[in-house]
């Protein structure tokens, strides 16, 4: 039923005037055909089935009245649904993950599990609990805002319960080594390319050279993580500082994180980050001066006797500046929401993006804007951008900026990397962006495992700081479309991948934990980098990560971003893609993206023709009026779940190779047919 997308069917459409038209048409569960007993869950090496339920019906929320029938499985990696009604891969035109099927969800992505009580009634189930009664159905909300609903109405007795209990246990492991990365047995041949990982001294050396930083040096004081477990082993610190000073100072900072270097401008101003001072310091002289006082009074006024370890450090930072200019201390704890606040915002936003049913969707629609406002998500995005823009302005004025935050591991990562995106075009390439994430997030110890909620631990605060960052970056993309090599599809994919526990990139709380895990012989783990995109995606999907609008030489060196709320927007691709009502046929941003790709293909083709003509060759007859394929994409491309667009791989692969840009005639035909495609 899904395969036969007759053209006429797609021509017909329904207007969503109000919910009265279509609300509550009984979500009737019709059995289309007999369940196929031969279906098999596809397993990866090292993956094992924990529980299986047969004759399960799957519903995509808000969209289909009729479920798809198939087998639902819980493995040590994923919640998997396989159906006979699956579309052949090449017909889907949507992003395919080589590790996950169309209806599969990695266990780490499961956020909330509800038991269906009634048609529109559901009850939240607590992780780790056991269900003893019958389970009618499941309603699952994922961390990337995907919602899937299953019914066990036709499943053999007990299947629903078994599966639910397995899911409640395995989706929320209490030990890190229960994550799938430890079980995955596929051989790994690292081919991630030249991403700098910042786990070795030479990587930091290279970055110092690249930025031309002076006044800063490498320090081995954290070798073996002796100083701080959350910092990298190699630190970049002020030249004037000797190791014992650093060791002495570090213990006064939370998480033992003294000021360390991130980046330098060509004029010498540096971007530095550090944690707050520990409040437990008993020395009264050190208690006298709070960071805010220092900020207001100016550091130079501080009497030497009242110097805190912080001031000593900042004085060394000042000496690292070629003009000995006072650094600017930027406080992040006070001015920006805490990880807990961010999580609260996210939950409100998620509720807005995961309506239970069509009726609720339209009710939300009436107050959508004020609800977005009260979620404070965009306000937070705005606050982050404002902070980063301010830091960028100081750097431009050749003033060193010191970011200070509680543990220095959340907003510091975000603001520091956002600032660098504003001031350094290097990070606006795909490679540069990945390098930036390695440097400011992974090496500097953003607690990914805690914040992404890989492990069930009531002690730690789950919080999508990474998503907040990606959203900030998306706002930049929107304001400076030709300044970035990557697309919003890349950013959305990155967020999806943060919940796939095959890769180590976002798996650990810090480098120290990663190293411990990789050296632990009792529970072996193969480290696989997320940046090895070929492990997950085909070329056709990776091609969509590269923006056809990218034009580095035309874009500004420093991005002058507008941060006020009216200049921002809700990231519709990332947040709306699972709401089928909002899918526009032949509409949305993908039309622009693919239109420009087609333009590139034409330009490439013309260049080829010109080269041929100049060489004196007769150009071959191009058959421009070849068959016109019916290529149409929706506004959700490449995340469409309801319509089957077919995009020519040739178009996606070839057109962005701008430098060696000779494209085959075939690619042109494809782009032409895309251009001329009738509906």
């Amino acid at each position: 039923m899904f395969k036969t997308h007759d053209k006429r069917v797609s021509m017909s459409f329904r207007s969503y005037v109000g919910f009265n038209d279509q609300e509550n048409k009984d979500v009737d569960i019709g059995l289309e055909e007999n369940f196929d007993e031969t279906l098999n869950t596809r397993l990866l090496a090292g993956e094992a089935v924990v529980a299986e339920a047969q004759n399960v019906l799957m519903f995509a929320p808000l969209s289909e009245k009729k479920g798809k029938s198939g087998i639902l499985t819980v493995t040590n990696f994923k919640l998997s649904f396989v159906t006979t009604e699956e579309r052949p891969r090449d017909e889907r035109g949507l992003q395919e993950n080589l590790l996950l099927g169309e209806y599969d969800v990695c266990l780490a992505n499961v956020d909330e599990i509800y038991q269906m009580i009634d048609k529109d009634k559901r009850r939240k189930m607590m992780p780790g609990n056991n269900i003893s009664g019958k389970v009618k159905g499941l309603y699952i909300v994922c961390k990337n805002m995907r919602v899937i609903q299953f019914s066990f109405k036709f499943s053999p007795v007990g299947h629903g319960k078994t599966l639910t209990n397995a899911l409640l246990h395995h989706a929320f492991p209490r030990k890190h080594h229960l994550l799938f990365a430890y079980d995955f047995r596929e051989r790994y041949y690292n081919s991630q390319g030249p991403v700098t990982m910042f786990n070795e001294k030479k990587d930091w050396e290279k970055e110092i050279r690249r930025t031309g930083a002076v006044g800063w040096k490498l320090s081995d004081v954290n070798q073996g993580f002796q100083l701080s477990t959350s910092l990298p082993q190699c630190l970049v610190v002020p030249d004037a500082l000797v190791d014992y000073q650093l060791t002495e100072a570090a213990r006064h900072f939370r998480c033992n994180r003294p000021p360390t270097w991130c980046w330098s401008s060509s004029h010498g101003a540096a971007l530095v980050r550090m944690a707050d001072l520990l409040p437990t310091i008993t020395d009264s002289r050190m208690l006298v001066i709070q960071p805010s006082v220092i900020r207001h009074s100016g550091l130079s006024n501080i009497i030497p006797e009242t110097r805190t370890p912080e001031n000593i450090m900042l004085e060394n930072v000042r000496k690292g500046h070629p003009q000995r200019t006072q650094p600017e201390l930027m406080e992040l704890t006070q001015d920006l929401p805490s990880p807990k606040d961010v999580y609260g915002s996210y939950c409100k936003l998620r509720d807005l993006c995961t309506p239970d049913n069509v009726r609720q969707f339209w009710i939300q629609d009436n107050h959508f804007l004020s609800q977005v406002e009260s979620s404070k998500w965009l306000t937070t995005v705005s606050a982050c951008l404002t902070k980063a823009a301010k830091a960028a302005t100081f750097l431009q004025d050749n003033i060193t900026v010191v970011l200070q935050e509680a543990d220095g591991r959340d907003m510091s990562c975000l603001i520091s990397s956002l600032t660098q995106l504003l001031v350094d075009a290097h990070f606006r390439t795909i490679l540069g962006f990945q390098t930036l994430l390695q440097k400011e997030w992974i090496a500097m110890g953003h607690p990914f495992c805690s914040r992404l909620g890989h492990i069930l631990n009531p002690e730690v605060q789950q919080s999508p700081i990474l998503l907040l960052f990606l959203d900030c970056v998306w706002q930049l993309l929107r304001q400076f479309p030709s300044a970035f090599e990557f697309t919003e599809t890349y950013l959305t994919t990155l967020w999806d991948c943060a919940h796939i526990t095959v890769f180590d990139t976002f798996l650990f709380d810090c480098e120290h934990e990663r190293q411990n895990a990789s050296q632990d012989q009792s529970k072996k783990i193969t480290l696989r980098s997320l940046w090895d995109w070929g492990e997950q995606f085909l070329e056709k999907d990776i091609a969509l990560f590269r923006s056809p609008l990218y034009h580095p030489s035309k874009s500004e060196a420093v991005l002058n971003v507008l941060c006020s709320l009216p200049n921002l927007a809700l990231w519709s691709q990332c947040f709306f893609r699972w709401i089928p009502i909002l899918e526009l046929k032949a509409g949305g941003y993908p039309q622009i993206d693919l239109g420009v790709r087609a333009l590139h293909a034409q330009i490439d083709y013309l260049r080829e023709q010109l080269a041929e003509a100049k060489a004196g060759e007769r150009t071959s007859n191009h058959r421009l009026c070849a068959k016109l394929s019916k290529q149409r994409v929706t506004s959700f491309f490449p995340f469409s779940a309801t319509i089957d667009p077919v995009i020519s791989p040739a178009l996606l692969n070839s057109t962005l190779a701008l430098n060696n840009s000779f494209v085959s005639n075939e690619a042109l035909l494809d782009s032409q047919s895309l251009l001329n495609a009738p509906d």
């Binding site: 207007s15 804007l369 927007a569 509409g587 941003y589 239109g595 004196g616 495609a677």
Partner: protein, 645 residues
């Protein structure tokens, strides 16, 4: 404007490497373009508006004349450096010096304020780069004096202007010598010429263009394009002299089986005699969109057999369906309330096989109030913390959503159900025009082209008597007139929403939409003057004024969407607030803190230029080769390249 200027404009628009796009997208077509244009046309001004060439096609004489140096108006001082650039037919009426423009964003600026019969022009003198503010006086809805002779405080004495395009302007004058008296009087006179027995500027404006926009709509040709007349539909000239209905066009398409007597009887039963006539017909299914006004049912539930039969004829004209949808744009409560005034709606008992649907779109007063709130929100400064809930509280986007959803529903019935739809509201000239025009835009790709969109406005809005004069209040000073309402603006907003949802479905860009809206108020062109075709014919508007489409079509490249892909098929928008956004490029455009929305287009235009250059080079190369071959000089020896023919 002479040829050169036109060419200059055209080439400028092609030159994507210039910043033209940046300013385009900011799109004060009045602010930015006008300056360039008038500068290039210099001081050419004609002695009188009587130099009418028919339909302003450029005659040889015109060309000659326009090349002559400036003909100075008698009584007008020779041009001085601080005089504003003038359009042909424009005259300086008053000047005030040492005026301070109180910009809400960049602070006060001192300079010279000039008032012409077309615009207000302020030019700063105290800044390094002169700062110019220009407002066509048609945009002004109210002029007020601020402060008196005894007012204290800097700039407390002056003039304030309230505009129809979401901005207010304030000027401070010196308190001595009644310095503001003259410009205030001139502003009053020329902002509200009709209240002062003066002609609108459009009748003085004498610029000529190579294109004649008055030919945009040829009613018979447009019907022919849709395949009318045919077996079921005929064209009638029964209203040729506007005797049946004075607010309808002269030419209608009605069911072929309807007699003249039927038409007269139905006219008696419909408000203002606006009987159901054809707006659009589906090329395949023959399902139609017809429009009319409410039936005069009244409290007693009056019936009219001819009207019922006539509606049946419309239904019968579509063999595909035995049903007809009557879409009443109003909320049902309003429709019921209209019965008390003799109006009402069709009862499903009287109209067999008709299904009545209310679309819940509010009346002109609600919409006016909504826009007023929106202006408060957007100008001059935006309160950030309450921005989103503030937008929600204006209900502006909710109104847009209901209009879009209504149009979507109409299009859906026609396309998917192959069923004809009859649309009306109360009089059928406000909400009805919004709905039919939008539904047609969704259904027919022709209307998504630049020329097609002009036809759509000429047809559904102008010829069917949307009362532009009343709704905009051209040239009169009754700023609180209850007949004013942003009905057409709402329609344009809906169109913009569609261009955002379907970025490659429209041939035109945002600048096109904003330019039309700017000149909706400016009174420079005759297009949006008067309330009906009958009035426009009576006043010889086509002969005495210039069409906006002449201006637009003469530099059409400025208005093209570089991503446009002509393609058949229906647009299927979604009427959810999640996909509807505030048109900041229009409503917030005076605020320099708002970035224009479409930096993408700049890059695309660059690529298009590159592509054009390459095409040219390839062509040249081929020509050269051909020439070589014909001269029997083979191309430089390349063994591997045999020449096939």
């Amino acid at each position: 404007m002479d040829r050169k200027t036109v060419d200059f404009e055209a080439s400028r628009s092609k030159d994507a490497s210039s910043d033209s796009l940046g300013s385009d997208s900011k799109s004060s077509s009045l602010n930015s373009k006008l300056g360039q244009e008038s500068a290039s046309s210099g001081k050419v001004s004609y002695t009188s508006a009587s130099t009418t060439s028919i339909g302003n096609m450029m005659t040889a004489a015109d060309k000659l004349r326009s090349k002559q140096p400036s003909i100075v108006e008698p009584g007008q001082p020779a041009s001085r450096p601080d005089d504003p650039p003038l359009l042909p037919g424009e005259k300086v009426m008053g000047v005030a010096r040492e005026v301070t423009y109180l910009c809400p964003y960049s602070g006060p600026a001192r300079g010279v304020l000039s008032v012409t019969n077309y615009k207000l022009h302020f030019r700063s003198m105290d800044r390094d780069t002169p700062y110019v503010v220009e407002v066509p006086l048609g945009v002004v809805s109210r002029v007020e004096k601020v402060g008196g002779q005894s007012s204290r405080g800097e700039n407390s004495y002056g003039i304030e202007l309230f505009c129809k395009d979401m901005r207010n302007l304030r000027f401070g004058h010196k308190q001595e010598n009644h310095s503001r008296r003259n410009v205030f009087e001139k502003l009053q006179q020329y902002a509200f010429p009709l209240s002062h027995k003066l002609p609108l500027f459009a009748f003085d404006y004498s610029e000529t263009f190579p294109e004649n926009g008055w030919n945009a709509l040829e009613p018979i040709a447009e019907f022919k394009r849709m395949g009318v007349p045919n077996d079921m539909w005929k064209i009638t000239k029964i209203n040729e002299h506007y005797e049946i209905c004075d607010s309808y066009p002269a030419v209608w398409a009605i069911p072929a089986a309807a007699t003249d007597d039927d038409v007269r009887a139905v006219a008696g039963f419909r408000s203002r005699a606006r009987i159901p006539v054809l707006s659009w017909i589906h090329p395949e299914s023959q399902a139609t969109i017809c429009r009319c006004s409410q039936p005069l049912v009244g409290v007693g539930g009056k019936r009219c057999r001819e009207d019922e039969r006539y509606i049946q004829l419309i239904m019968d004209a579509n063999a595909q369906s035995h049903k007809l949808y009557i879409m009443d744009a109003r909320p049902s409560a309003n429709a019921i309330a209209n019965k008390a005034k003799g109006g009402g709606y069709e009862s499903e008992d009287a109209y067999q096989n008709a299904e009545l649907v209310f679309l819940d779109i509010h009346n002109i007063h609600v919409m006016r109030e909504s826009l007023r709130k929106l202006k408060e929100l957007c100008f001059p400064n935006i309160e950030e913390s309450r921005w989103l809930s503030g937008i929600e509280a204006t209900y502006w986007l909710k109104h847009i959503k209901y209009i879009l959803a209504g149009a979507c529903r109409i299009a859906n019935r026609v396309e998917t159900h192959k069923t004809s739809v009859l649309v009306h509201c109360s009089d059928g000239w406000d909400r009805t025009a919004q709905l039919t025009a939008l539904a047609m835009l969704l259904l027919d790709p022709y209307y998504r082209t630049i020329k097609g969109f002009e036809v759509l406005i000429e047809k559904e809005w102008l010829s069917f008597g949307h009362k532009f004069q009343q709704r905009i209040g051209h040239g009169d000073d009754h700023h609180s007139d209850a007949d004013r309402s942003p009905v057409f603006l709402q329609f344009m907003d809906c169109v913009w929403q569609l261009t955002q949802m379907f970025p490659n479905a429209f041939q035109f860009n945002e600048t096109f939409l904003i330019t039309i809206l700017d000149h909706l108020y400016s009174c420079r062109f005759g297009t949006f003057l008067y309330n009906s075709d009958r009035e426009r014919v009576q006043e010889n508007v086509k002969q005495r004024t210039v069409s906006l489409w002449s201006y637009i079509n003469s530099s059409i490249d400025n208005y093209r969407n570089p991503l446009y892909l002509p393609r058949p098929g229906v647009l299927e928008p979604v009427g959810s607030i999640r996909l509807i956004s505030l048109w900041k490029g229009l409503y917030c455009r005076w605020n320099p803190g708002m970035r224009p929305q479409d930096p993408i287009y700049q890059r695309i235009r660059e690529l298009l230029v590159l592509k054009e250059q390459l095409e040219k080079q390839v062509d040249e190369c081929k020509q050269e080769q051909k020439a070589r071959v014909s001269r029997n000089m083979p191309t430089p020896p390349r063994l591997a390249s045999p020449v096939h023919s």
